[in-house]
Symmetry: C2
Subunit: 364 residues, 2 copies
DNA sequence: ATCGGTTGCTAAATCGGGTTAGCATCTCCA
DNA sequence: TGGAGATGCTAACCCGATTTAGCAACCGAT
């Protein structure tokens, strides 16, 4: 096994051998009771098993004095539960998305006394299976399988019949339903369109998808739902998009290209819905380079609330992906027996960050 | 009858209950040997202990057929080593910094068959101690203590006499030296200045620190070292900065402020060293808003290689923090008994990303 | 026949805590 | 005086693997 390299270090350690950990047996001996008694007291079953108040006090006292900390590995072995959750993500590094989600999960874990294993599948199924197995080998009590961009994702087979929550992902329609936590992209799409309508805009251009219902990257659940929301809201106002530009990838360069093309086509003012903040950044660049202004000539609403959004001039109005809450909710879901038992999708509202990129039509 | 274990498992296969995990005992029974023998064979000590080739084959065969996977919790208990590393960071969410570092560590961990626990201290010492203890309770074999912005950081006391590597941090000078892995900020500072000098620039303005040696945020090791490198390189060329602007925090707004002020003071062209890419973004904004161009009027070199750098127009020339390599190196260091035993600082080169924001002086 | 040396394997202890059946002892009341 | 019941605690097994001392059985040489 590759991991005993470290074990060696302790063994031939020179002088500064790490002091041996205090075990339950040490405590029992010092408190002059049996290990059973010590165990019962320390797991608060003392009253139940009628250990006298005096003995209980003694055990607790001694445990504190010796700085006793139970070895969770041992407890895991016996109880079959480890106080550990596995968090498997397709990629861990993409901007702060993953970070905030992990942060939310971490916060939940801390609250409940759990630790988090993390692993990265790099989108590779077999790699993911291996991760799941490595985690199951370590007796994780549950798994969060996260995706950094919302899309469909299979539940790893090894994890079947286990506690699993999908995060920012839904299972393919033909697979067994499970628990999933995702942002409510559709509602955000509607809200984005509504925001512009309420500000009096009627010429609404889409950057990143549209104008048709299917004009969006296939594997992006986020894209599909945002687009659907936008179109539904416009339709119910008796409108349709003034234009739409599908983008292969949602990066600034594409936003720049699409917006430059829009302006070159003769559009000098109007409202833009960009499908994410990085596209919006590209739009800002194109608009700036064309000598137009935001929000004077163009109002912009976007999605994600990337850090960029508050760096841009003017600050970008956008619907935030509630990464932190998603992570937290996934963990809470996992740890709640009642919830985890029932499959279903939990949609978390994407809150509006109202900033400076949208003006009332004709105001400026 | 080697396969009656299999048969048994097949029997209750109807029930929807999660199938019990195959244990070593199951394998031993099915292969008709003792648990000891099975264990020896599966840990490749069969030859050493003179188990016949026939028995070895049988055990291995059966193990594969039954899909045996050893329970690492049990092995951890016995061996005192868990195949697990703890990664404690002050913050896990800041942009992709943390992500890439974790990613590097994760890659190393996977290569060596380890899993990673992660925890976030939020910069709180006591929180950090609690994390360390929770990890030690789970028998981690080593700890990586990371900081997302380079600065001094104490080694958690509970982790003393353990395998610890500091990542992107160094211990305060008055504390016991340990292993640390950091980017070579000083060398990058010198290289940044050299890059501009070689391009013929003599008017070099600093955004984020300087012009004096101490004009930089106190707790930022990165800032101090970048500044020192820049000043040393300029000095050895017989120069000093044309100006310097200390910034409280290294965000676009501050870069914008400092650069706007610089331009307002009458500087219409020259070279800028921004202390990180977000400051550079602010500089781009200020320069654009003043109607000047990059690199026509202003050449810019920066540090970090934030995603922004390749989104800006023109793309930003910058020295990358090798996050991925830092994480990887920290893990490799931790797992190498020879290295971890000796305290010392490992400085990783910050590679130059040469892009479009620097021009030869007077060329354009 | 006996002894020493292999060969091939296993019993049993161990890691550290959790769990349960049940054993003394004492009290109280009939 | 004896039985029921409460009180206070512990022995002993369990989780699943690792590790070591050592035991049969057999072989060949004396």
């Amino acid at each position: 096994m590759p991991y005993d390299a470290l074990a060696k270090i302790g063994q031939d350690g020179e002088a500064p051998m790490a002091a041996k950990r205090i075990t339950l047996a040490d405590v029992a001996r010092a408190a002059d009771v049996s290990r059973s008694t010590a165990s019962l007291v320390l797991s608060d079953r003392g009253d139940e098993l009628r250990i006298s108040e005096a003995s209980q006090q003694r055990v607790r006292q001694v445990a504190t004095e010796l700085g006793y900390r139970p070895n969770m590995v041992s407890a895991s072995l016996r109880k079959g539960t480890s106080g550990t959750i596995g968090f498997i993500s397709d990629t861990v590094a993409t901007s702060q998305l993953a970070g905030d989600m992990i942060k939310g999960a971490l916060e939940g874990a801390r609250k409940h006394g759990y630790m988090l294993f993390i692993g990265e599948s790099e989108g590779d199924e077999s790699q993911q299976e291996r991760l799941v197995e490595a985690m199951l080998d370590r007796q994780v009590d549950g798994l969060i399988v996260a995706s950094m961009f919302t899309r469909e994702r299979s539940v790893p087979s090894a994890a079947a019949e286990r506690n699993v929550v999908l995060l920012n992902t839904v299972p393919p329609p033909d697979e067994a339903p499970v628990r999933a936590v995702i942002p409510d992209e559709y509602a955000a799409g509607r809200a984005a369109a509504r925001l512009l309508l309420d500000a009096g805009h009627r010429q609404i251009h889409l950057i990143g998808g549209g104008p048709g219902r299917d004009d969006v990257a296939q594997d992006s659940v986020a894209g599909k739902e945002r687009l659907a929301g936008i179109l539904d809201e416009l339709t119910s106002a008796g409108l349709s998009p003034a234009s739409g530009a599908e983008c292969r990838i949602w990066l600034p360069s594409e936003g720049w290209r699409a917006t430059s093309a829009l302006i070159a086509s003769g559009v000098a003012r109007g409202a833009l819905i960009t499908f994410n903040d990085r596209l919006a950044f590209g739009a800002y660049q194109a608009i700036g380079e064309a000598g137009a202004t935001i929000p004077g000539d163009f109002s912009i609403v976007s999605f994600d609330d990337h850090q960029l959004a508050s760096w841009l001039h003017p600050n970008l109005t956008t619907f935030a992906i509630p990464h932190h809450e998603l992570g937290l909710r996934a963990l809470e879901t996992l740890l709640d027996p009642a919830t985890i038992a029932r499959p279903g999708i939990d949609r978390i509202t994407m809150p509006l960050r109202r900033r400076g990129s949208v003006a009332e039509f004709g105001t400026i």
